[in-house]
């Protein structure tokens, strides 16, 4: 099976000067062999981006070999494949006017050098230079990854360059719905056993407290901004007032939780204890409050350098 595309390639590189129509036929064959996606090397890259093309092409430049250690490439590959696959569902007349291709770094270092690519993945869209769809420009346009690596925005954007919009539809997320269904079923079955837990106010109390602790520690900030768990240099606390790492959420939530818990102990537990224990606990928790509060102020001073106050530390 592998031989066929190789052979086709070989014959293609021989018939370099052949008319564009013939090149197109071989590209079609290559695309069909690769399941809608042409696996390129330097030679077939030149073929696909021939100067007098009346087809368009979108090419993903990637480095999937484990030695290259390109994590984003691996992350992006499934989206690219699914969009390329979706294009095979387009009517044949349109399908053959646009090609999806992938060039791995190890297959075409020369091309990478020629284009001056220092990072991967990159997606270039080559517009047609001849034929009715030509718009008079031949240099490729780059896909903007600011929308992330998802297939949906990719398909949407590439549809601007294909003859007809890519018939991409989000695959049905079986895993998610199965998990959801199973979870719901399990809940319904065990409802009888866990209902005392659900009806206990303290279950809900723990839930509410956790929610408010996590939220007031900036969890949503890390979610929305996608901040890393720790910094690149291994520091866990980010400099700057309007910035934070994932680990800060945990530390701050624990600090707030400890301080809140100390107050709960002082008001709700300690008054019911005997004299000896009470005295010990009062001093213990007062010290804890002072210490942890001081730590909190120190942490805050890291974030806000101009803060003029300090406690014990």
């Amino acid at each position: 099976m592998l031989l066929l595309p190789l052979l086709a390639l070989f014959s293609l590189s021989l018939t370099r000067a052949a008319p564009a129509d013939e090149t197109r036929q071989s590209l079609v064959a290559l695309a069909a062999a690769g399941g809608g996606l042409i696996k390129l090397d330097s030679a077939s890259y030149d073929l696909l981006t021939a100067p007098n093309r009346d087809w368009s092409a979108s090419i993903e430049f990637t480095a999937l070999d484990p030695r290259r250690r390109c994590a984003p490439c691996k992350e992006f590959a499934p989206s690219w494949h699914s969009v390329a696959k979706a294009w095979t569902k387009a009517p044949k007349a349109h399908r053959d006017n646009h090609f999806f291709a992938t060039l791995d770094f190890d297959d075409g270092q020369a091309v990478f050098q020629k284009l001056g690519l220092a990072s991967a993945p990159v997606v270039y869209v080559y517009p047609p230079t001849a034929g009715p769809r030509a718009k008079g420009r031949s240099d490729p346009s780059k896909y903007d990854f600011s929308h992330g690596f998802e297939a949906e925005p990719l398909a949407q954007h590439l549809s601007n360059h294909t003859p007809i919009p890519i018939p991409y539809s989000k695959p049905f997320d079986w895993a998610r719905w199965t998990t959801f269904g199973a979870g719901f079923l399990a809940f319904a079955v065990t409802l009888r056993f866990i209902s005392p837990v659900l009806q206990s106010r303290w279950t809900w109390a723990i839930g509410t407290i956790l929610v408010s602790l996590v939220m007031t520690s900036g969890y949503m900030f890390t979610r929305i901004r996608g901040s890393p768990f720790i910094g690149q240099d291994g520091s866990w606390i980010a400099g700057g007032f309007q910035n934070q790492f994932g680990q800060e959420v945990q530390v701050i939530a624990v600090v707030y939780g400890t301080l809140g818990f100390a107050f709960v102990m002082l008001t709700m537990v300690i008054p019911y204890q005997s004299a000896q224990r009470q005295r010990f606990q009062i001093y213990l928790w007062s010290t804890i409050i002072m210490l942890v509060y001081s730590i909190l102020i120190v942490l805050f001073k890291v974030k806000n350098r101009g803060y003029p106050f300090r406690l014990l530390m």
Binding site: A205, T216, S217, F221, Q242, Q278, M290
Partner: protein
Amino acid sequence: MPTAFPLPSDLSPATVTNTASLLRIVALSLISGAAIASRLFAVINFESIIHEFDPWFNYRATRVLASKGFYEFWNWFDPTAWYPLGRVVGGTVYPGLMATSGVIYNFLHALNLPVDIRNICVMLAPGFSALTAWATYMFTKELKDESAGLLAAAFIGIVPGYISRSVAGSYDNEAIAIFLLMFTFFCWIKALKLGSALFGTLAAVFYFYMVAAWGGYVFITNMIPLHGLVLILMGRFSSRLYVAYSSWYAIGTLSSMQVPFVGFQPVSTSEHMAALGVFGLLQIVAFTQLVRSHVSSKQFQDLLFLALVTVGLLGFVGVVGLTYKGVIAPWTGRFYSLWDTGYAKKHIPIIASVSEHQPTAWPSFFMDLQFLIFLFPAGVVLCFHQLRDEHVFVIIYAAMASYFAGVMVRLMLTLTPVVCVASAVAFSSLLDTYLDAAEPAEAADDASETASASGSNSGSKKAKKATASAATPGSALGDIVAAATPAKKGEKVKGIFGLDTRLAIIVNAFGMLAFFVFHCTWATANAYSSPSVVLASTNPDGSQHIIDDFREAYYWLRQNTPETAVVMSWWDYGYQIAGMADRPTLVDNNTWNNTHIATVGKAMSSSEEVAYPILRKHDVDYVLVIFGGLLGYSGDDINKFLWMVRIAQGVWPEEIQEPNYFTPQGEYRVDDKASTAMKNSLMYKMSYYRFAELFGGGQATDRVRQQQVPKIGPTLDYLDEAYTTENWIVRIYEVRKEDLLGRDLKSANAFAKGKKRKRSKPVSRRRAIVN
């Protein structure tokens, strides 16, 4: 009965009560005074001036209201905003704020006090913060007692989280809205407690006021139904709930529809459907209860239950179906982006671009709430401990508001009241426990002790006080405090032994309070009291230097341009230009027309040749840009530029592409390495035009970006520099008219330059200000 420290024994209970209530009044008035005083930093440091951006519109509208009357204001069509579209102000504004100032203005003038409308606008927010303190006191009193109420009032009076939106001069809707929010909640709790239609109606009236004052009324619209729903689910349906909710919903909804900007939204948008749904559910549940009380058959009751579930489900499916069909409008983008946090960035960049819509990092929480932020969970635990209907409300409020505050910095404002209330409950419980002089007897069954400690949980406070003081008349003062804390573990003895333990806690607690006061004062003075219209910097000798470039530029426009001259700027400055320069603007902070804003974005981010037809088609006479490169003012237009590009890209994806404005390495640069699109953009050219000349051949440095801009700056063919302010923060350009000979301006310019360099340049008097 042993006491830890001696108490006066010759006080009658009446004296104690009277003194306590006098002290409460004194304390409340002191709190009001502190609340107002701490908001005056801005006036003292600068002057009595309207702050920021939105307040300038509110101020302008209030002036119209005060000078022309309510009727004119109501029908006001402003042709100068959103040129050439205009804006129907009366129908697109929450009029509560302006109406309030108008009423105060007319009232004072009726008393022959000729107060300027500007001073009323400046002082409105501090005044209402005193009322907020009072409303919070009332609300917290319903949760625990008066002492907790006083603490809550003190907290909300000075907490930076609320001050940030209510300093003197910050004349915005939030200034009165937080008072209305708290008072509506207080009325709702009171109505629910008493089952009173009077308080329900009062809640509805204040809800109406809130709807008229702030878009955030949707928070109330969903909080109260959620509270009702949770109470039903907890099996706490009662006729009190029915009366309170029905009276609030019916009157509140009908009256809220009288505000033109809201109109039929309460019955046609998803934001309001929860309230309607819970209203329907309550009717069904009430009906079921009624029938159940009259019918005994078990089968019939089962049938009824089934019918209830069916009707409920049908109603839900109906609402979903209507939404799907488009009869009920789905969530608006602003609201939806609270749940799906990625939504705004993808689909409505204009919402994502606003700085107060950014998510909140933890330092902001600590900055705004300080030690309240960790007392707050303790207070929520205490609410769970008691769990009366009103505590359920606080718990729901706490959970919802902490989520919202995490998603958007702006919504910290809705979290602040509940944090103050909950932490006041926690803190006053602590003080109650450790200030109480009574020491528990070691033996557990001291009769009087049990009586005073196990006051019934739901009984009225007066009764408890009576029991307490009757049981131990010797320590009346301490026991009033003690009695106010309900003890659930009735059998167990509660109390603190010894004096040192008490002192340890009390000293600690008061230390924390004092620290809070210092923190609040510092935060208010340093972070929240800048008018942002006037900037302040410090001279080398420590004295204050006022940077007044904005007003300088706006007054230049006012004095030197015809009244019909259209000014184009990024939308942030629209209200200020309208308010201070009194000139028509293309876009302003109302942001209702995304395409119009994108047009401005496109003009700013394209080259001169592309932008010129856009400017001419919109009759633009002057273009205004904010440039901070000389002074290091980071909120300038070059820093906002990417948002202009993004918003323009949303409408013209073919012509404007964000990656073109970055270097190939993906950096945002303004120096030699800047991308071609960046260098050719109108914004870049207007910002750096003749900037290098300022350095007299030396290396020109942009102080914000910390980059060295090219020595040969950009040239302008289609615009003329009209005015640049002292510190170069505001630069105004005049758009050239078409060439009289029909050449395009570029070649005309080249021709003129080739003939003779006649554009004499004035000697630059400007020098860099060292700050």
